[in-house]
């Protein structure tokens, strides 16, 4: 992935001003980068990422705007130039030193070490070029803007009086303004996070890239495509298998970051594509294959992915299901149709040669790869509105309203609303639609029949996701929500398997401080003590502990909203081990020869905090910590360890 710029993907252009522009690149279109000009998208397609291009506008020699790749040596010229000649920035620019300028710091051999700013005159009139003249230049200028900068610099009366520091700043300022350059960057999660925090941080809960990294580490997110499907002691509920619960109020940014780490974010065709690309390379590593490849592959892009990925998906699924849960298979339509019929739409695709990425309209009668059906390596997203907000996934070719079946998130991302998880019976989509016999179906209009099947499928999907989620056994819980964290954890922590990780992100520290307090050692001790003192009360609390064991169809969470719970213990504090609170921030530095220091300014705003803990299975009964004098001892064999 990201080996070269593919059509119909989102890319990021960084302009000299530092502004990042995100756009979807399509063949035969024009890309406009504001005052710097515009150029044909085809000039970028098939090229690698991270190159800096210079706009060469059309003139006598060129019939249209062209792009020139700026080599690295040229980009680094300023930083390297003075460095190669001299050990420090001292000998910076020895030529104009003859001009009788006075220097503050002079070496033993009379060499200038550092120019002082004693002679600096703060006066805009020192620039001899007037604004009009510069405008003239800009209009006449055909080149990359370098000429303008050179002219401006040359017309500055006291350029040689500037210290190297201020000269560097001056040059940088002018470059940002006039240089017609831009850099093409791949739009990955890091890039997108930077972009979003820069513009609409409030929409992503002020998440930064460093926090995202920390979240995924503590949540132990990893690819579990090949994990075993194991069931708990009740024989039904799945334990582990690389399934994570997510509460995401960042419009899908957290989901994207997690999915990237699980290898399910980028459309699989890209993977396959680069794989085949690699193979072809390996087979004939003789000639200048590199040059031949991009073109060829680009032609294949629309075709290959469909052919390769779709059968793979179908072939994997039934197999996985056989090893694993018996449950999910009932949700699948008979496993044969997809296998038989799937190649069909793909061959249609090949013929029509439609671009793969824009979401194709879903054809209702088409045999169906069940959405949200993967047994392992999944994210289950809880959403508080009727539909999940996954707007930011559009940058990764996933339209949550109308997902393309070839996208890995189609099967690996499951969504469930709070109503569905807590009170499934109140949710309309959870109720089974009426069954119509085959005969009556045959007599129905095709549109009606399609409707019927769609409803059935939606119900099957909802039911399987809801039931699976309510049975718990998740490997972890990641919360980035504006909701009160204790209410979220109260409902979801019981669904995490023993040893699973719980991570809660909050932009501000206060909600998490409260949360830490609810899981504090003292509160836990009080909770346990209370369980023993008042057995009636204890039963109530125990019920919460045992929620997992209850039958899937009974209202597991009935006690949840009743409000009769002890207000001192909104969550069961014995379920989490080692709750801790942390924060991290990356501080960026400028590294230039002789001018290395932290950046002068950076973004303020919310610091961003993380609550992490491990889900544990507490021993039922009184437990004495060592070091305390023995109290009432209770017999506890291995058998009495709780649940699951």
């Amino acid at each position: 992935m990201h080996s070269y710029i593919r059509p119909h993907t989102h890319i990021a252009l960084r302009l000299p001003s530092g502004i990042v522009k995100i756009l979807e690149i399509a063949p035969n279109t024009t890309i406009n980068i504001g005052k710097f000009g515009s150029f044909a998208a085809n000039l970028l397609l098939g090229r690698p990422y991270y190159l800096t291009f210079e706009l060469l506008e059309k003139d006598d020699e060129r019939t249209k705007t062209e792009l020139r790749v700026v080599p690295a040596s040229e980009l680094h010229a300023e930083a390297l130039g003075n460095d190669h000649a001299a050990p420090a920035e001292s000998r910076d620019d020895p030529a104009p030193t003859e001009g009788g300028v006075e220097f503050d710091i002079v070496g033993d051999d009379g060499e200038v070490i550092m120019r002082s700013n004693r002679l600096t005159i703060d006066d805009p009139s020192r620039q001899k070029l007037s604004m009009e003249e510069i405008e003239e230049l800009k209009k006449a200028g055909t080149g990359s803007g370098k000429e303008i900068i050179e002219r401006i610099m040359a017309s500055h009366m006291a350029i040689e009086e500037k210290t190297s520091f201020s000269l560097a700043k001056y040059t940088l300022r002018k470059s940002r303004k006039y240089l017609k350059r831009f850099t093409v960057l791949p739009l990955d999660v890091g890039m997108l996070t930077d972009y979003l925090t820069e513009r609409e941080a409030y929409k992503v809960m002020e998440l930064r890239e460093d926090t995202l990294g920390l979240v995924s580490s503590w949540a132990n997110i990893h690819c579990s495509e090949t994990s075993r499907v194991l069931t708990g002691e009740d024989g039904i509920s799945q334990i582990g298998g690389g399934r994570w619960l997510v509460v995401d109020d960042t419009g899908g940014l957290v989901v994207a970051a997690l999915a990237e780490k699980m290898g399910i974010l980028y459309p699989s065709e890209e993977d396959d594509d680069s794989g085949s690309e690699g193979k072809e390379e390996e087979e004939e590593p003789t000639s200048a294959t590199t040059s031949a490849q991009p073109g060829q592959i680009a032609t294949k892009t629309p075709v290959l992915p469909e052919g390769t990925t779709a059968p793979e998906e179908t072939s994997i699924k039934p197999e996985d299901l056989q090893n694993g849960t018996t449950e999910a298979s009932s949700n699948l339509p008979p496993p044969d149709p997809p296998q038989d019929d799937l190649p069909q739409p793909t061959s249609n695709q090949t013929l029509s040669n439609a671009p793969p990425n824009p979401p194709r309209p879903r054809r209702p009668p088409r045999p169906h790869i069940p959405q949200m059906s993967s047994p392992t390596n999944t994210l289950t997203l809880l959403h508080s509105n009727a539909q999940p907000n996954l707007a930011h996934l559009k940058y990764f070719s996933y339209d949550s309203g109308n997902p393309s079946t070839s996208h890995p998130l189609y099967t690996h991302l499951k969504t469930i609303s709070w109503l569905q998880i807590l009170h499934p019976s109140e949710d309309a989509t959870y109720a089974e639609p009426e069954t119509i016999s085959e005969e009556t179906l045959a007599t129905m209009k095709s549109s009606k029949r399609g409707n019927y099947y769609r409803k059935r499928r939606r119900w099957e999907r909802t039911k399987s996701v809801v039931d699976e989620t309510r049975r718990g056994g998740f490997d972890g819980l990641i919360v980035a929500s504006v909701m009160a964290p204790q209410t979220v954890l109260r409902a979801l922590v019981p669904l995490v398997r023993g040893g699973g990780k719980v991570v809660v992100y909050s932009a501000n520290v206060e909600p998490l401080v409260e949360l830490c307090d609810l899981y504090s050692k003292e509160r836990r001790a009080a909770f346990v003590a209370r369980q023993f003192e008042k057995p009636q009360n204890g039963v109530k609390i125990k019920r919460e502990v045992k929620e997992e064991d209850s039958e899937p169809n009974t209202p597991l969470f009935s006690s949840y909203e009743d409000g009769d719970e002890d207000e001192d213990f909104p969550v069961n504090p014995t379920l989490l081990l080692a709750p801790s609170l942390q924060t991290a921030r990356a501080r960026h530095w400028q590294v230039l020869p002789g001018r290395t220091h932290p950046m002068m300014t950076s973004r303020g705003g919310a610091e961003g905090y993380l609550f992490t803990a491990t889900r544990v299975l507490p021993v039922e009964g009184k437990v004495e910590a060592r070091g305390h004098f023995r109290g009432k001892k209770r017999k506890t064999g291995e058998g009495s360890a709780v649940q699951v």
Partner: protein, 515 residues
Amino acid sequence: MAPPPSPFFDPGTHAAPNSLSVLQLRRDHLIPAVLSASTESEYAEGKVENTRFGSFPHSTLLHQPWGTQVLASVVDTGSRGQKSKKRKREGDDDGQSTPVHETERARKDLVKAVTASSGFAHLVPPTPETWTLCLPHRTQVVYTPDYSYILQRLRVRPGDHIIEAGAGSGSFTHAAARAVHNGALEEAHPAITTEAANGDEHSMVPKARRKRRGGVYSYEFHAPRAKQLQVEVNEHGLSSTVKVTNRDVYEDGFCLEDEEAPDADAIFLDLPAPWLALKHLTRSPPSPAVMKSVASDPATPEPEPSAHIAQTSSTPKLFRSPLNAKKPVRICTFSPCIEQVTKTVTALRSLGWLEIGMTEILSKRLEVRRERIGLQEEGLRGANPSAATVQEAVQRLRDVEGRAKVFHGLQKEKQEEIARKVEAKKRGGKVSPAEEDQEAVSGKGKVKVESVPPSKHDRLERAKKELDNRELFKEGRLVHRTEPELKTHTSYLVFAVLPREWTKEDEEKANRKWS
């Protein structure tokens, strides 16, 4: 036939024998243990983990669901010497007769573990985070805030290949293994475990045919450390993901015997002089001029390496890049000193790396607690017994004043009484009324004492009595602060990207294709 999956990637539902698990005693106090049911131990209970918080025989840990709270057992740690000798002899005899009996004995041992009256631990599956907290330190450890940011910035994704030079204690190795793991080709060659055992000149397994398998290529200069890491990697079931090589990367670069390895997408250098390794991380042989400029870096007046470079760059006919030719390659160097950073950055610039930037991670952990202040805390532990409010302070002052007044009053009365008595004596006779008076006075005094504000003794007494009914867990003000031990500097992280090579021919091809 396939080895069981690594407990790091797929721990299963229960702690399994011969696989790594972690005993968590306190938040930062974890003990790694490879659980085993074997009876070859000095203890009657089989293998035992002894901790400050009690002894945990493996038999009480094995086959427990992950996350279980395990109670400590009573283990006779004193007389193990004698016992072991005796047991060994027995074991030998038994072993010769029937192995079945041996397992029976093991069963018997399981029963022997008796739950202790106190002490517990939690059995948790290993993760790079828990491992980082409990690994045996060999060098400076790369901690979670750093490695999570590094892996995030390096864009390491499942299926990628990452070079790690300076494996050190292996914390980054484990985190990187988790990041690249994609489970492709699970039927890995069994040969790999034996083959990788002594590093250097061995090749990796035949490469993925369809899906590229993620891999960590770990290089360590220090032979014993490399060996130790290899042992850990095998023990943790990571041998098909992590390839440990004992090598001096400054001299010998990163290429392995296997044609396709390491084919890296990302590089992490935790070396004292990363700039010396950079010359091996190029897409094409660097030009002599560049080599010179890299070698003659400021303040490294070593003619030796440059001479050596000249040799290496000219002699080998077949240049092989250790980098993935198809993708942009990202690098991160991890150096504690700013001088190292300057040199590294200069070398990166000369070698054509882009997007160069330096970052440091400032991370801190916060502790949350309840701060109890107030006069009611007098004599209690973990609280501040000062007055919580001005009102409280005033009240206390009033009380003190009040007591003083009462006592002074009493004193005065006493004195007056004595004076009266004396006078009465002087006058003679009339004793009985005086006595009555005295009695009345004393009675009055007692009444007064009862209405007097409480003494310190009384207050302490009362605070203790009230403690039983108080709910301390929700009293006081909730506060948070940075934990006492603060890591103010770990290392500087230099990041850079090396784009794909792009030649004129490539450009022409792309041009033809897209116009």
